[in-house]
Amino acid sequence: MTTATATAAARFGQAASRVPDLVFRSGSGILAWVTVAILGLLAALLVANSGEVLGKFGITFLTGTTWDPIAGIYGALPFIVGTIASSVIAIVLATPIGLLTAIFLAELAPRRVAIPLTFTIELLAAIPSVVFGLWGVFVLGPFLSKTVEAWIVGTLGWIPIFAGPPFGVGLFTAGVILTLMILPTIVAISRDVITAVPDSQREAMLALGATRWEMITKAVLPYARSGIIGAVILGLGRALGETMAVTMVIGNRPQIPQSIFDSSQTIASQIATTFNEASIGLQTSALIGLGLVLLVITMTLNVIARLLVWRVAGPQGTS
């Protein structure tokens, strides 16, 4: 495909001497580079405007545990912990379920089951974040607090990280909602990656007398492993940046949570709830500093994930 495009480009290159061609070519080129420019500008903006807070606090901006706009002390650790913790919960829940689902859809399901099921899971990705949040506040939160959370606190509550009370608002509920939001990503990419595994691998395994499940675990998954890890990392990236649904169920508490049932705050939800009334100067700079942290984390994960997925499924394997 690339060679063909290259040929076409060479052909178009010859024709580019005409003025309308030149205009079209440069016009579309400018627009194409606009995307690059926006990304660059965004990064530059975040870096420039976080200068004030980073200059004042340096590394303690990342390690400080106190976020106190009144005293002018800004330590982002509570939000970093909240962001990572809620996303880790989501990954822990979504990876097994998502992987098993991808396996089912790619290897085991007959077409007439796979198609509607794939469809349903893809539609999950189309639900707006704020609708998830609304549902989370009025339906999922109360449900979790009475069932899952109550059970966990009842049986494991003696371990500090599972200590109650199970309020239904907080890290765990946010993690569950994030699970639902990243499942489609993990399922879709894992499925693409698994499908891309050459049949020769499967046939070889079966020829050796493996059961279907053994074929999957011993031939397909190891081959697809880096792609699946990439899928999970992409899901993680999505979870880290999710704003609205998390803001509505996480409790907005700018302290490091002690238990997964505590209220917490993520970087994105802190920015969302306080940016508009933040005082110009240090506080706004601090929030933009938070944004920069978030950008760096999500961009890094994004790049790593895509490289991993490309290795297995090729450049078109990510959707």
Binding site: T7, A9, L46, A207, G209, F275, L294, T318
Partner: protein
Amino acid sequence: MAGALIAQPSMAARLTGARVGRRRTVVDRSMRTIAMGAAFLCAVPLAAVLFFVAANGLSALSLDLITKPPRALGIGGGAANAVVGTLQMVPLAALIAVPVGVLAAVYIAEFANSRSARVIRFCADVMVGVPSILIGIFVFTFLVLPFKQFNGFAGSVALAVIMIPIVMRTTEESLHLVPNSLREASLALGVPAWRTVLSVVLRTGLPGILTGSMLAIARAMGETAPLLFTALGSRLVNVGDFGRPMDALPLFIYVNARQPVDALNQQAWGAAFLLLLIVLIINVAVRARSWGRRIG
């Protein structure tokens, strides 16, 4: 051929004369059942969300919800500010994003050398993964702060920035699917490059481009975070004045979800139902065509 082999795993075993042990059979059957369970489990959340949004939102859905502006305590009021706002900001965002995204994709697919194409494609992919709240800060700095005025135009631009990479990537994919023979035939007939792209390539790739654009529009309709610092939201029904704050369905839902008044919560569900319905219809209509092709 591979399918036949996969469908009968013990065929290979029979061929080699080995017998599959009982424990391995049990593991095989139970894991396959678990995998099936997991897959059907994934279908539950969509059903759960749809059910509750419909159950709570249907009763709030009325002509009043769409035509009346918010009123104190929700009595006799509705979400006209949000409906009108979304109906203006999203099309404007599409008007910006679709041409930019399509032409950018045209450039990568047709004109750029492979290194430039890779860089631009990479940046587009990264942009898709950037949290939308950061896009909100970005547009705030350039389109709100200098004017000291939250405005609907900034909201549209923020939505457009989110849409452009999506349109770009889906358009590029569909352009790659256009057979090269079409391009060559057109050029051989003496059609200039730009007209070849517009009349031949784009027209052939149009279904895919429309798919991508519709999906991007559905995404933009549901975005809240980028509007928080740009369009801000408003209780007033703002028609045509992009220089002032505008409301939007997701903003309306966000604000009314946390109100202590039942009537307002109901309106939030109603707006959510409306939004979800439109977004899902777009997704279903657009994907119905393509999943048959992708599976199997």
